[in-house]
Symmetry: none
Subunit: 136 residues, 2 copies
């Protein structure tokens, strides 16, 4: 069920710069942050271009996207190419990648049980990370 679509992407200076910038940061970055970083780095890239490419990369599974608490989309180079989820701290925003075969199976099974096909699922786990919990 892996689906590398026939993606026809042309390698451009901008696209490379964006991927590069992203790969150098272990943290999640917003499109605006990347745009700013590229701007001050001399190699300016249009804001719209940054958005477009990040979206495309996310669609291709090259990067992870999550929404911050205030709805901003933030991206990060994928640590694993596989399908996975995140556990997000509602205190500091720390996000940890986790995989969970059991959830995948459960989702698939419970959907099939009711005759559903082409199943997709969204799982969000949030809590307080150790540091934030201690800090309260």
């Amino acid at each position: 069920m892996t689906g590398q679509l026939p993606t026809t992407r042309r390698p451009t200076r901008q696209r490379t710069a964006i991927a590069e910038a992203l790969s150098h940061s272990p943290e999640f970055r917003s499109a605006q942050e990347i745009h700013a970083r590229l701007a001050e780095g001399g190699a300016g890239v249009g804001l719209a271009t940054v958005y477009r490419n990040l979206q495309a990369m996310a669609a291709d599974g090259e990067v992870d996207v999550i929404r911050t608490e205030d709805g901003e989309a933030v991206y990060r180079a994928c640590a694993t190419e596989d399908h996975h989820h995140h556990v997000v701290c509602r205190g500091c925003g720390l996000a940890v990648e986790v995989t969970g075969d059991s959830v995948e199976r459960w989702a698939e099974a419970v959907a099939a049980e009711h005759g559903f096909v082409q199943v997709r699922h969204t799982v969000e786990v949030e809590g307080l990370c150790g540091d934030c919990a201690r800090r309260r």
Copy 2:
């Protein structure tokens, strides 16, 4: 006893209407949807008021908030009693309630594994129900 923070909330027609509308829907609703529903229901409530109250309710833990894939905030009355999830058909909207102890345990375990506490989770499973699948 833990408690009701000294929240000085005044009971108003608007606030009640919002809570009411929310409690009648098992699904997550956006502020705009609630605003629209109240509007056509005769008892109009200002959009800003809907936003303010939903935020307040969320802050007080009366309702759950999650962000849709496109960044919109959606709210749902807290199901303190029967915690369950839904499998929603993206064709016709059919929603089936399902429970899943395995998911609950997985979420708890995976969070604890990374030192997270006060864990909450949201799980949404979507696909095409049998009818819709056949119809394509």
